[in-house]
């Protein structure tokens, strides 16, 4: 059963999925302003639609991905994620948070987006595969490599304890 899209429904979707979508767009675009622009364009585009699938997440992530890639292509510049602040660091974990951001920046883009979709998009790897339109095994191996790299980098913060 598909839901009718009122302005209120769009705002609810935005509040529920906005942060994860922003993190995802930020992982694809050179700055947070562009990422927010991409997000807004997707949500404003929803006003023209009557309905969305019950689970709107994969649709929204796919839409944000397409929009972000278009923006990146239009800007004709390479993604440079230097100095991106895309995560809120809890008190006492600021250094660790900065290290996580740095580690994410250093991942290959295809691994980074899998991590962002899985961790902050809270998707299964099968859902990630559907969003990226690649085989599930490919997603699983990208995720495996990414976690290994992150584990090495973040080892000093005693992640595995």
């Amino acid at each position: 059963m598909a839901a009718k899209l009122t302005f209120k429904a769009i705002q609810d979707l935005y509040q529920r999925h906005g942060p994860a979508l922003l993190a995802y767009a930020t992982s694809l675009l050179p700055d947070r302003g562009s990422a927010e622009d991409a997000l807004h364009q997707v949500f404003l585009g929803l006003l023209g639609k009557d309905e969305l699938p019950d689970d709107a997440r994969p649709y929204l992530f796919r839409a944000v991905r397409n929009r972000a890639l278009n923006l990146r292509r239009d800007a004709r510049r390479l993604t440079s994620l230097d100095d991106q602040q895309w995560l809120v660091k809890p008190l006492g974990m600021i250094e660790a948070g900065l290290e996580v951001e740095r580690a994410l920046r250093e991942l290959p883009p295809e691994q980074r987006e899998v991590v962002v979709l899985r961790i902050w998009g809270e998707m299964t790897l099968a859902e990630v595969a559907a969003v990226l339109d690649v085989p599930a095994n490919t997603v699983a191996s990208r995720y495996r490599y990414a976690l290994d790299r992150l584990r090495k980098v973040l080892n000093k913060f005693e992640v595995d304890e």
Binding site: P19, H40, L44, L47, V88, L150
Partner: protein, 123 residues
């Protein structure tokens, strides 16, 4: 698909860091404006193009229909008796030229095939 228990630990660790909140969506009125921004621009562009086409069409029509303007002296000036009498006194050539010019305009053309004089001559 993540069966390694250490994967769960690092996932839990990473999830402690929440993504930033995006800036709020624009208000409804602004959204409506943004939504109609593109159609409005298209409509304005079409209206502009149509008005340009219309002006250029009217300009062409105007140019096509307007008779070729021959710069002539006003009739009043030509038929001024003062001028004619002065010309008759001072310059016979100019007087003849003015009379010729007036006669073409004021007198009937007897050589015209459908002229009234021709019709009367037939009768």
């Amino acid at each position: 698909m993540t069966e390694d228990p250490s994967d769960d630990r690092i996932e839990t660790y990473l999830r402690q860091f929440r993504p930033h909140l995006p800036r709020p969506l624009p208000g409804r009125s602004k959204v409506t404006l943004i939504r109609w921004r593109v159609p409005l621009r298209v409509a304005a562009a079409v209206a502009f193009a149509l008005s340009i086409a219309l002006v250029s069409f009217l300009h062409k029509v105007d140019r096509g229909q307007s008779p070729q303007t021959v710069r002539t002296e006003p009739l009043a000036q030509e038929t001024s008796f003062i001028r004619l009498s002065r010309a008759s006194r001072e310059d016979n050539t100019e007087f003849d030229a003015r009379m010729d010019s007036l006669s073409v305009r004021l007198l009937p053309d007897v050589r015209r095939s459908q002229g009234i004089l021709k019709a009367l001559a037939h009768e």
